[in-house]
Symmetry: C2
Subunit: 310 residues, 2 copies
C-alpha cells in the first residue's frame, strides 16, 4: 500500500540504492554464454544465460542491497523466453529477501491498465485458482494519459501492498523537450511539476503509515540536481526512484538533494555500473559477481557519505 516495506529494507541494510538488472548479452561473461551453446534457439540460449547471470548477481548482492530493478526491455528483447527469465528473476530476488521494482514504464487506460496492474503487481482468478503472472513489488509507469491511467493501479496497490513510480523528470538530455515546458496555469508551472503534483494527489489514496511516504513514487533523474532538490521539497509524501547515477553522469553530491533530513525519501539506481563492474575492473570474468558486490559497496559508501541516514 505504501513504500514502507522498501524503506524498512533500506533502513536495515543502511543502503538507499537499487541494482538495475539490464542484462545486455554483451555484459554476460563468455564462459556463461558458452554453457548454453547446445540450445538451438538463440533467444532461448540468451535467456538462459541471462538467468544464470542474474541469479549470481542476486546471490552476491542480496545481503547488502535492498532492491533490484529488472528493466523489461532487456527481457522482451529475448522474446517470451526472456519474459520467462524476467518472471524467474523477480521471484528469485524476492526469495532472497530483495524488494523488486519492475521497470516497465507501462501506461494505458481503464481495463487495459488494470490488466497491466494484474500482470506486474497483482493476482487474478482463472478457473477458480488465484494466480500471479509476474508479481513484482513495484512498477514504473508513465502518466501522460492522466488519472485514467493511474487509478486502476491504485486499487491493486491497495489490495496487495504494492507501489508505483510515475515518471516525473527523467534523466535524459532531451527530457526537457516536453517536461520542462511551462504550463499556462497560475502560478506558472512546468509539465514535470504538474506531474509531480498529480503524484502527491494520487498518493493520498495510498498513505504511508511509517515514514510518511505514500505508495505513489516518482522517477526523478540524478542528472538534474536542482530540479531533484526542488521536487523533494515540493513532493513531501512522494518517494523517489533516481536513475542517472554513474554511467549517465550523476554523482553522489548530485543525488543528495533527493533525500530528506533522515537520509530517506529516495533510492538511487545503478545498472551498468554494477553489471559491468567486472569489465571495468578488468578482473577475471568468473569474478563478475564479486566485482558487482565491490561496486555496490563503493556506491553505497559514496552515497551514504553525502546524506544523513540514521
Amino acid at each position: 500500500m505504501s513504500f514502507d516495506k522498501l524503506i524498512d529494507r533500506i533502513v536495515e541494510t543502511k543502503n538507499p540504492t537499487v541494482a538495475g538488472l539490464d542484462p545486455k548479452y554483451s555484459y554476460i561473461p563468455a564462459y556463461i554464454r558458452a554453457k548454453y551453446d547446445s540450445i538451438a534457439d538463440p533467444l532461448e540460449a540468451a535467456a538462459a544465460a541471462v538467468k544464470e547471470f542474474n541469479f549470481a548477481l542476486i546471490d552476491a548482492l542480496c545481503d547488502i542491497v535492498p532492491a533490484v530493478k529488472p528493466q523489461a526491455a532487456y527481457y522482451e528483447m529475448y522474446g517470451w523466453y526472456g519474459m520467462r527469465t524476467f518472471a524467474e528473476t523477480i521471484s528469485y530476488a524476492q526469495k532472497k529477501g530483495m524488494y523488486v521494482i519492475a521497470d516497465c514504464k507501462r501506461n494505458d487506460i481503464g481495463t487495459t491498465m488494470e490488466a497491466y496492474a494484474i500482470a506486474h503487481l497483482g493476482h487474478q482468478e482463472i478457473r477458480g485458482q488465484k494466480v500471479s503472472p509476474f508479481g513484482a513489488d513495484a512498477l514504473t509507469v508513465n502518466g501522460y494519459l492522466g488519472s485514467d491511467g493511474i487509478t486502476p493501479l491504485l486499487k491493486v496497490c491497495k489490495e496487495e501492498d504494492k507501489g508505483i513510480f510515475v515518471l516525473v523528470k527523467t534523466s535524459n538530455p532531451s527530457s526537457g523537450e516536453l517536461q520542462d515546458k511551462k504550463a499556462y496555469v497560475r502560478p506558472v508551472q512546468t509539465v514535470y511539476e504538474l506531474m509531480g503534483d498529480m503524484c502527491e494527489k494520487w498518493g493520498e489514496e495510498l498513505p504511508g503509515t511509517k515514514y510518511g511516504y505514500s505508495g505513489v513514487g516518482a522517477v526523478v533523474g540524478a542528472t538534474y540536481p536542482d530540479q531533484l532538490t526542488e521536487l523533494r521539497r515540493r513532493m513531501p509524501h512522494t518517494f523517489f526512484l533516481v536513475p542517472g547515477y554513474g554511467a549517465q553522469g550523476g554523482g553522489a553530491a548530485d543525488v543528495a538533494g533527493g533525500f530528506d533530513e533522515n537520509g530517506l525519501g529516495a533510492i538511487i539506481n545503478s545498472s551498468r555500473g554494477i553489471l559491468c563492474a567486472w569489465q571495468k575492473e578488468k578482473c577475471d570474468e568468473h569474478d563478475f559477481a564479486g566485482a558487482a558486490r565491490r561496486e555496490a559497496i563503493r556506491m553505497r559508501d559514496d552515497i551514504v557519505s553525502h546524506i544523513h541516514l540514521k
Copy 2:
C-alpha cells in the same frame, strides 16, 4: 520506413479499420476455455485459449480487415505463456497477410529504447544468428521522455521498414489533465500540439514516398472530434491510429475529421466491439468469429460512408 505498406492494405481492402486483439478471458467462449482444462497451470491454459480465439478471429477477418492490434497488457496478464501467445498471434496474422500494430505504448531512453525496438520491430544477432523476438510491423510508444525516447526507434524503422505511433491526444476522459495544458510558448500551444509537432519533426527521418505519410504516426482519440480534425490539418505527414470508436463512445461522424480528402490518413480501431460481437448479438458461442466478421463489416461500412475513400 513509412506507413506505405499499411496504407496499401487499406486501399486494397477499402477498409480503414483495425481489429484490436484485447483478449480478456471472459470474452472467450466457454467451449474454447473448456478445451484446455487439462492443462494444470491456469496461465498456460488461458494463454492457449487466447491463442485459439485469436487465430479463429484472424481467419475470419484477414480478407476484409487490413490490420490487427494486439494489446500487450492482455498477454502480459497471462505471464510469459501470454507473451508466447502474443508472438504467435503476431506471426500468424502476418502469415495471413495482415499488418500488425503491437500496442505496447513502450517508452524509455537510449540503449533501453533500442532494446524495445529490437524486441518488437527489429532483429538482433546472437551467436551470429539473426533473430527477431516479436517482429510486429508497427509499435505504439509514449513520447513523454522526448527525442531520446524516439530516435532509437527511427533507426530500426528505417532499416526494417517499420513504423511507430506516438501517443498525442488519447481517447480517455482524463487525457486533458496533462495533454490539454497550454504551454507558455509563442504562439500558445497545448501539450498535445507540442507532441504532435514533434511527431512531424521525427517523421522527417522516415519520409513517406507513396501517400505522403511518414513512418511516425500518432494516436489521436475518436472521443475528441474537434481536436482530431484540428490535428489532421496540423500534422499533414502523420498517419493517425484512432482508438475510442464504439465502446468508448466515438461514432463514424466523430472519426471522419481524422481522414484526408482521399479518405486516407487514419485507421480506426475497434477491440471490444469486434471481440464481444457474439455476446452482443447473443448468437451461438461457436459463431463468435462469424459475429466478429459481421461487426467488422458493419463498422467498415459505417466509417466508409462518412469519408471519401477512393
